[in-house]
Symmetry: C2
Subunit: 254 residues, 2 copies
């Protein structure tokens, strides 16, 4: 059995049975990230969502053989009017988390940019990695703007996530982790293999696989499937272990 | 294929794939009820949870072949400090729902009793059914207190839910629907069959099956399994159709 860590899931939207089934594939740990499905009308919505992740999810899933590691953050599509109260709460409880996330930019409005800056400052202050979403639309332009913010804050202990052929050259030489999201509508196994050949094999300590498992239609088994696909394509098992387990273990200290 | 309606699920905690799989068993409609996994620290948490159910869930699951019918309410374990703001919001949007729920009593504190009263008044005013939770602990005593509140408000267009042998005699002669929740840790098929023999066959228009599918460990297929169990035990198909589809269809006008 290959042991795996999934560095990006939204566990609150998935059943106990899903995680139990995933445990049989060798999944041992997940990082459970914040995301709210409608724009929050007030700060308590996100604060209670964070409590849901930090306080309730590890208990709920404790019998599933999978450890849940919380990550909290204000996603660019989930900014409430009184976001400062959310930041204040995050400062108090983020030490109970393995990362700040999911943060990032969706449309790169001024508000989104400010919310990202604040959270990268918090990550830097707390010496915690940040998990950074790159959007589906305008992925290349928005990724460039995210990199500008990282340079401005001077913090690179991050995963730039959902990277694909549209933006990989922008981040390949940066001192960051690169998240490859193997999921329907994100990276299929064939594209993953091309990226592995072209970028990962020469620098396997830089890449982290994940699934973004959550409320959208998903392939529950996309991580073990992708790994088996890479294996039968002849990718070295040590490379597979790095990108599916060890790099995430180092970054998140889990 | 037997067509079914599940009158009590918490769809926000279940994947698209779960509902897609359930549609293949003949499930056509679910009533998706409100419940928040930690005690909300403010009213926007519940208001946004209601928006999640009303605005986002039917869209998310529209491709699953199952129709989602929203129900909103303050569960006795989810009372925020500023619950009056939640009631104000409910008044504005509950016309977009098929029921008020999940409401009820857990410990029957004064606060819980007041929150239940307010919501039964709203149900009465809006001529909407209420879905009433009965707890696992002290089920009999708490059910008696719920019945007192129904009498006080003078409203019986409700489902008293999660009924089992502990409290069924208390509600059997009341002019309400009785919810039988076929799920791990609630009613197993054998106990369901005993209740069907003893109570349902003589009065099949009074009972509604459901699963309470949500974040706790669940058997996804407990509704079709229970129905097949009743069928092979010889229960009349018309009785099965009433308790698994037609009664819910009448009550919720779906």
């Amino acid at each position: 059995m290959a042991f795996m860590i999934d560095s990006h899931v939204h566990s609150v939207f998935r059943s106990f049975e899903d995680f139990e089934a995933l445990s049989f594939t060798g999944l041992t740990d997940v990082v459970s990230l914040a995301f709210y499905p409608v724009i929050p009308s007030g700060s308590t919505t996100l604060i209670d969502h964070f409590r849901h992740i930090i306080e309730a999810e590890p208990v709920r899933l404790s019998g599933s053989y999978i450890r849940v590691h919380p990550a909290i953050g204000v996603h660019p599509r989930c900014i409430p009017p009184d976001v400062q109260s959310v930041f204040k709460y995050m400062k108090k409880v983020v030490d109970n988390c393995v990362a700040v996330g999911e943060v990032g930019l969706e449309l790169a409005t001024n508000m989104e940019l400010e919310v990202l800056r604040e959270q990268l400052k918090l990550s830097k202050e707390k010496d915690l990695p940040a998990i950074i979403h790159t959007p589906r639309k305008e992925k290349r332009i928005i990724t460039a703007k995210i990199i500008d913010v990282l340079r401005e804050i001077g913090y690179f202990n991050v995963v730039i996530d959902h990277v694909n052929f549209e933006n990989i050259d922008l981040v390949a030489d940066l001192d960051v982790y690169i998240g490859l999201t193997v999921q329907r509508s994100k990276l299929n196994p064939e594209d993953l293999f091309k990226i592995v050949e072209e970028y990962v094999i020469s620098n396997p300590e830089k890449f982290i696989l994940n699934t973004d498992l959550g409320r959208d239609p998903s392939d529950l088994f996309s991580l073990p499937k992708s790994i088996q696909f890479l294996r039968v394509k002849g990718v070295d098992k040590d490379v597979i272990r790095l990108i599916s387990e060890k790099n995430a273990s180092s970054l998140f200290r889990i």
